[in-house]
Symmetry: C2
Subunit: 738 residues, 2 copies
C-alpha cells in the first residue's frame, strides 16, 4: 500500500517528500525487529509471544494504512536500520480535494478579506498617547496578517483570499488539524468493536509516534496575494547545513520569544497563535497579561515593605518592647508567660491527617528544644520549629501532589465524561482542589487558627491532648509571612529547576536510545522527521496552568501578610515565560493546533480564588494583624501609641500567680480574673465591623468594575459584526431567487 519508498541515505532538510514539492503534514513512526524486515524467521521459543502480537500489529497497521490510502492520503516511507530494531517513518501528505472536503466538515475558518492591523495593545497605545517610548515593543518580522474569516465552503472557493494557490491556501496548522482528524477517524479493525483511530494504535504500541513536523523556514511568508501590508523579508538562515538545534527554533521567533534578552518585551502572540494554535496562544497571552499586572502589585508591595522597615525604627510599641526586654533580661527573668506547659503534654498515637502531623511536629520540636536546656535553643525554640516545619511541609506537599494527580486521573476516568473538554474540566477541578488543600492548608492554619484558641495561663485549651500552639513572639502575622516565603519561593525554585532539568534529561535519554547505534551519521545530516522524532511528546498545558494558578492563590489570599509575594511571583514569571517558550520550541514535538475560546475552567478557578482572597484578607487584617488594636488604641487612648504594649498584654490571673509563684503577662484582653474585658468586646465589634465593611466595599467595587468593563471590547464587537456580514455575503445561496 505504501506508494513511495526511498533509501535511508536520502538527504533532506526541508519538510517535503523526496520529490521535492509534496508537503509533509504528519509523520507516523513504528519499530520492528530486524528479522521482520528481512523476512527471515528464527525459531527461538521466547519469540513466540512477541510474534503473536507482532502479527496482530502488522494486520492492524496494514488495514489502517490501506484505509488511509483509500481516503486519498499521499505517503512516502523511509526506514532507519539500527542494531536491534528498524525504525519506519511514514510521511503523510493530504491532497487538495481531501483538504477541501475536511475543511468544510471541520468548519475551518478561511480568510475572506485582509484586515488593517490595529495596535490592539492597550498599554502600547496608552504609552504612545503619553509620549513615553515603549520599552516593551519589539519589531518581529513576518507578522501574520489579520483576516476576516468564515467557515470554508468548497463551492464558494472563489470568494476566499488566496484560493488560487492550492499549496498555501490552508495554513500548516489547518493541514495538521485535517490530517489529525482523518487519522483519528480511520478504522484499523472492526467498527463494531470501535477499533478506530491512531490514538488507540499508539496506546497499543502499533505505532510509536504520530506527529506533525516543526517548520524549517519561517511559517509561510506573505502567502496571501491581496496582502495590503508589505512584509519585510527577514534575513533567514540557510535551511541547508544547520544542526537541528539551530533550525528548529527558527519557527515562530527563536530570536524574539524564548531568548532571555527579551524578558521585557511583548511576546509575539500572533506568531505563537499561528504556529501553535489558539489553545497554546491563550496560555501565553494569559501568562503575559497576568505578569504585566503583577508589576504594579509588586511595586506597591515593595513600597509597603520598605515603608514598614523604616517605620519600624520609629515605632513606639517596638521601642517599648526592646526597652522592656532589656530591663527584663537585666533582672534575669522573663515577664512573658512560658509558651508551653510541659506537665500537660500527652501525645496521641493516632495521627491521621498529614496536616495534623506537621502541626504536631512543630509543637513537639518546640517543646523538645525548649526543654533541652541549651540556651540558644530555648530562646528561639518556636522559631526553629516553625521554620523547619515549613520545610517539612513543602516536602510533604511536593510528594503528595504527584499522588493526587494519579488519583484524579483515575477518578475522572471513572466518571466517564461525554466530551474531551468535560473530561479535562473535571480533571482540572479535582487536581486543583487537591493541590489547593495541600498547599494552602498550612498557611491557612497559621493565618486563622494558630494562636487563636490557646486559652490563658492556668487554663490552656488542647486538641487531641496536645496543647494548642502559640505563634512565635513576633506574632502569627510574622510567622505566616515566613511560612509563605518558604513555600512559595521554595516551590518556585524547585519547579524551575525541574522544568529546566527534566526535559533536558529526558531529551538526552530519548536521543541516546534512538541514536545509540547511529553514531556514524552526523546530526546535521539527518532528515527532519528523524530529528522531530527525537523530541519529547507535548503533554498539555495542565501543569503550566496549575503552577501559575497556585501562585496566584499564594499572592492574593495572603497578600496582606506578605506584601513581597507579588515581587517574587513577578521575578519567577519573567523566568517562567521564557522557560516555557524554550520548552515549546526546543524540547517538544510540535503539537497539533487546538482551537479554544479561552482558558477554560481556569477562569472560574481564578475567579473563585479572587473571591476567597477578599474574604481571607479581610479576616487577616482584622484578626491576625495588629492593625485594628493599634487603630483602636490610637483613637481611644493615645495617638502616639505610647503604652500600647502594656495595653495589649494581660496579667496572668491570680490563681495562676498563686499556684506558680511567678507573675507574667500574655497577649490578651482579660482582667486578673481572666474574664474578657470591655475593651475585648469593643475591639471584637470593631474587627467584625471591619470585615463586613471591607468585604462589601471591595465586592461592590469589583461588581461596578465588572459592569463598566465590557467582556468584549467594542472594537472587537464591531469586527465580529463585520465578519458576520462578510460571511453572509460570501456564503449566501439565495441571490438566484430574486
Amino acid at each position: 500500500p505504501q506508494p513511495g519508498s526511498s533509501a535511508l541515505d536520502q538527504k533532506s532538510t526541508a519538510n517535503v517528500f523526496s520529490d521535492g514539492s509534496t508537503q509533509i503534514d504528519f509523520v507516523l513512526v513504528w519499530e520492528t525487529l530486524p528479522w521482520e524486515l528481512s523476512g527471515q524467521q528464527d525459531s527461538h521459543e521466547n519469540r513466540g509471544l512477541q510474534e503473536g502480537s507482532a502479527t496482530i500489529h502488522k494486520t492492524w497497521r496494514k488495514k489502517f494504512l490501506d484505509n488511509l490510502h483509500a481516503a486519498g492520503i499521499h505517503m512516502e516511507k523511509h526506514t532507519a536500520c539500527m542494531e536491534k530494531k528498524v525504525v519506519h517513518y511514514l510521511l503523510l501528505s493530504t491532497p487538495w480535494s481531501v483538504l477541501c472536503y475536511y475543511a468544510e466538515e471541520l468548519r475551518l475558518r478561511v480568510p475572506l478579506q485582509a484586515l488593517p492591523r490595529q495596535t490592539s495593545n492597550w498599554s502600547a497605545s496608552v504609552l504612545q498617547k503619553l509620549g513615553i517610548p515603549n520599552l516593551m515593543a519589539q519589531e518581529v518580522p513576518n507578522l501574520p496578517l489579520d483576516y476576516y474569516t468564515c467557515p470554508f465552503k468548497a463551492n464558494k472557493l472563489c470568494w476566499f483570499l488566496g484560493s488560487n494557490q492550492q499549496d498555501t491556501f490552508f495554513s500548516m496548522t489547518q493541514r495538521h488539524q485535517i490530517l489529525h482528524e482523518i487519522l483519528a477517524t480511520t478504522q484499523y479493525g472492526h467498527s463494531r468493536e470501535r477499533e478506530v483511530g491512531v490514538d488507540q494504535l499508539l496506546s497499543k504500541n502499533v505505532f510509536t509516534a504520530a506527529f506533525p513536523l516543526h517548520e524549517v523556514r519561517h511559517p509561510r511568508t506573505t502567502p496571501r496575494p491581496a496582502s495590503p501590508v508589505p512584509t519585510a523579508v527577514c534575513p533567514r538562515r540557510a535551511p541547508t547545513n544547520c544542526s537541528w538545534r539551530s533550525w528548529l527554533p527558527a519557527a515562530p521567533g527563536r530570536k524574539y520569544w524564548d531568548s532571555w534578552g527579551k524578558w521585557s518585551k511583548y511576546q509575539p502572540l500572533d506568531h505563537i497563535c499561528k504556529y501553535f494554535g489558539e489553545k497554546v496562544a491563550f496560555y501565553f497571552a494569559w501568562l503575559g497579561f497576568y505578569t504585566g499586572w503583577l508589576l504594579p502589585a509588586a511595586v506597591v508591595g515593595m513600597v509597603v515593605f520598605i515603608t514598614g522597615i523604616f517605620l519600624m525604627f520609629s515605632d513606639v510599641p517596638s521601642q517599648e518592647i526592646c526597652e522592656s526586654a532589656e530591663q527584663y533580661w537585666m533582672w534575669g527573668c522573663s515577664s512573658i508567660c512560658p509558651p508551653s506547659d510541659l506537665g500537660q503534654q500527652n501525645m496521641i498515637a493516632m495521627v491521621v491527617m498529614f496536616l495534623v502531623s506537621v502541626i504536631l511536629y512543630q509543637a513537639v520540636l518546640a517543646i523538645f528544644l525548649s526543654s533541652s536546656g541549651y540556651f540558644c535553643f530555648v530562646a528561639s525554640a518556636s522559631r526553629i520549629a516553625s521554620i523547619t516545619g515549613s520545610v517539612v511541609n513543602l516536602i510533604f506537599i511536593l510528594v503528595l501532589s504527584k499522588i493526587y494527580i494519579s488519583l484524579a486521573h483515575f477518578l475522572t476516568k471513572w466518571e466517564m465524561h461525554r466530551t474531551r473538554t468535560k473530561y479535562e474540566d473535571a480533571f482540572t477541578f479535582k487536581v486543583f482542589i487537591f493541590q489547593f488543600v495541600t498547599f494552602y492548608s498550612s498557611p491557612i492554619y497559621v493565618a486563622f487558627f494558630k494562636g487563636k484558641f490557646v486559652g490563658y495561663p492556668g487554663n490552656h485549651m488542647s486538641f487531641l491532648g496536645v496543647r494548642n500552639e502559640e505563634c512565635i513572639p513576633g506574632g502569627c502575622f510574622t510567622e505566616l509571612a515566613q511560612e509563605l516565603l518558604v513555600i512559595m519561593v521554595g516551590k518556585q525554585i524547585i519547579n524551575n529547576v525541574q522544568e529546566v532539568a527534566i526535559p533536558k534529561l529526558k531529551c538526552w535519554w530519548h536521543k541516546h536510545k534512538l541514536l545509540s547505534t547511529q553514531k556514524t551519521r552526523k546530526e546535521a545530516e539527518q532528515p527532519p522527521w528523524v530529528m522531530n522524532h527525537q523530541l519529547l511528546v507535548f503533554e498539555g498545558l495542565f501543569d503550566e496552568y496549575l503552577e501559575m494558578v497556585l501562585q496566584f492563590g499564594f499572592i492574593t489570599i495572603f497578600v496582606a501578610a506578605c506584601p513581597l509575594a507579588p515581587l517574587f511571583a513577578l521575578l519567577n514569571n519573567w523566568v517562567e515565560i521564557r522557560l516555557d517558550a524554550q520548552k515549546f520550541i526546543c524540547d517538544y514535538r510540535r503539537p497539533v493546533a487546538e482551537r479554544a475560546q479561552g482558558i477554560g475552567i481556569w477562569f472560574s478557578i481564578l475567579e473563585a480564588i479572587a473571591h476567597l482572597a477578599v474574604t481571607s484578607n479581610a479576616f487577616l487584617i482584622a484578626f491576625t494583624s495588629d492593625f485594628l488594636p493599634r487603630m483602636y488604641y490610637e483613637y481611644v487612648h493615645d495617638s502616639s501609641l505610647r503604652g500600647y504594649v502594656n495595653f495589649a498584654l494581660a496579667y496572668a490571673p491570680w490563681d495562676f500567680v498563686l499556684q506558680s509563684n511567678t507573675t507574667c503577662r500574655y497577649r490578651a484582653f482579660r482582667d486578673r480574673d481572666s474574664n474578657l474585658t470591655l475593651t475585648y468586646w469593643q475591639l471584637l465589634a470593631v474587627r467584625l465591623g471591619f470585615v463586613i465593611v471591607f468585604e462589601h466595599v471591595v465586592f461592590f467595587i469589583g461588581r461596578v468594575i465588572a459592569w463598566l468593563v465590557p467582556d468584549i471590547p467594542e472594537s472587537v464587537e464591531v469586527k465580529v459584526k463585520r465578519e458576520q456580514y462578510l460571511a453572509k455575503e460570501a456564503l449566501a445561496e439565495n441571490k438566484v431567487l430574486l
Copy 2:
C-alpha cells in the same frame, strides 16, 4: 400600484384575500379625508397646510407601496368610508419565492425532523414518579410539534420537512417576521436621508397602523406531513357568525390559558411560543416559574406567621409588657420615655428630597397628634403617622414613576445606542434604578436607619434640626412589616385595577372613534382587518417585567420582616398571569414575533436583587429584629426569657432625671451615666458575627447550587448536539468532493 381592490361590503371572516386563498400576512392602514378620495378639492384656507403635508404623505406612500410591489409583495386594497374620513386597509401577502429569499437572509429556522416530545416539565415528572395525580396538568389540543431545526437554505429545500406544501411550510409568525423585515427595509424617499422603513412612516403618520392579523382558526393544525404524533382534532367554533370577542381568543387557547378557571394549570407555553414568538413566551414561562416557586415561600411564610401568633400568647416578654403596662396605667404614669421632645423641634424650610419630606411628614404628624391633647390620638400618634405616611409615600411613588419613565426614555435616546437590544437594556436599567430608589427608599429607611440613631433621653441626635424619629413602640420591625404591606398590596391592587380598566377603556374609546359613523353595520360582519385595527397597539413587555421584578424585590429584600409578603405576591401573580393573558389575546393587536434567548437584562437585575436580599436580611435579623438580643438573654441569663423586658430597657440617665424630675426607661443597653454597657458591646459583636456567618453561609450555598445545577440541562444539550449534527448533514455541500 395596488393590484387588487374590492368593495367595502365584501364579507370575510378568514384571513385571506378576496380570492379566498391568498393568506394575509400584514395589514397597512391609513386615513384620508373624504374629498381626497373623491378628488373634489375645497378652497377653504385652513386646509392649505393640511394639504401640503397630505401631498408629501401621498408621495411617500406611493413610493413605498411601489417599492413593495417591486419587491414582489401581493396586495389587496379595501376602504371604509366614514363621515369625516376614509380608512384604507391594504392587505399584504408574501409569495413563495420572496419568502424563501428572506428566510435565508434572516436565517429563519425550519424543521428538519420531528422530535418525539418528552415531558420536559420536571414538576410533572416528579409528581408522576411519586404517583401523585398532577392537578396542574391540562390537555391542550393541537400541541405544536417539536422539531430539530436548522437555518433555511433555499437550495436544500428537499431536506426540510413539509417543503412540498408551500403555503404551510413557513409558520405564520415567520411570515410576519419576513414581511416585517421587508417593510422595515423598504425605501419611501431618498436613501441618503435614511428615508427607509414603515416605522418612520408610522411615526410621521403617513400610515396609521401596520400589524399582522390574529388567527381565526387554531394556528395551523398538524401541518407537517411526517408528524409522528396523532393530534386530536378539537371541537372548534364555526368561524362564521361569531362576534369578534369570540373568534379572536380562539387563537392560542382561549379556553386553556386566559380563563380564570385555569389558575392552577400549567400555561400552554408551546402554543404561546408558536403564536406570539419566543420573547413573549419567555415572559410567561418566567412568570409561571417564578409564581411556582412562590408557593413554597408562601407556605413557609404562612407557617412562620401563624407560629408567631401562637407563640405570642406564651411569650414571656410580651406578657411582661402587658403586665407592666397594666401596673403603670394603674399608677397613672407611663414609665416609657416620651417619644419626642417638643422643645427641640425646629423645622427647616428647604426639603429637597421627596424621601426626606415623607420622613418629616411622619415626624410632624406624630408631634402634632401627640401635642393635640386628644387622648386616643396621643396614645397612637406615631402609629397613625406611620400608616398615613405609608399611604402618602405610595401616592408619591406612583406619580414619580411616570415621570421617571419619560426621563429614562429621553436619557437613553441621548446616549445613542447601536442596537435595539442595547437601547432596551440601557433603558430598562435606568428605569429600574429610578423605580428601585422610589419604591425601596422608604422601607430601607425604616428597616435600617429609623430609630437607630436617636441618642438617649437628654441627648437626642438630630438631622436638619429635626430630632431623629423613633419607631412605634412595637419596634421598627413591626413598622417595616406594616409599611411593606401597605406599599406592596396597595401597589398590586392599583396596578391590577389599572391593568383591567385602562385597556378596556382605551379599547372602548378606540372603537368608539372608529365606529362612530358605522353604527349601521353589525360587529360580526366586519372583516378581520377592521376588527384587528380596533385593538390596542402592543407596547412591549417592559411594564410587565418591571412590575414583577419590583415585587420580587419586596418579597426578597424584606422577607425577614414580613413573612406574609410571598403569600400576597402569590395571590397577585395568580391574577396577574390570567390578566396578562387576556390582554394579549383580547386587547392587543397581534405583535410581530420576536426571537429572544432569554429574559435579557432582567436576569442580571434579578441576580443583583437576590444578592442584595441576602445582605439586607442578614442586617434585618441582626440589627432590626429582637432575635439576637433574645438569644443572647436566653443563653447568658435566663432560658425562659423572664426579665427580658427589664434587660432590654435602660434607665434614663441621672442628669435627665434630675432635670425633668421624672424617671423613665428607654430601649438601649446603657448604664445610668448613659455609657454603653459591656452587654451592648457583646451583643454588637454577636450581631456583626451573625451578619458575617449568615452572608458567607448563604452565598456559599448559593455558589454550590449554581455549580451543581447546570445552566443547560443535559437533555437539552444532547438535543442541541443532535440538531447541529442533522443541520450539518442537511446543509453539507462537500459530498460531491469525495
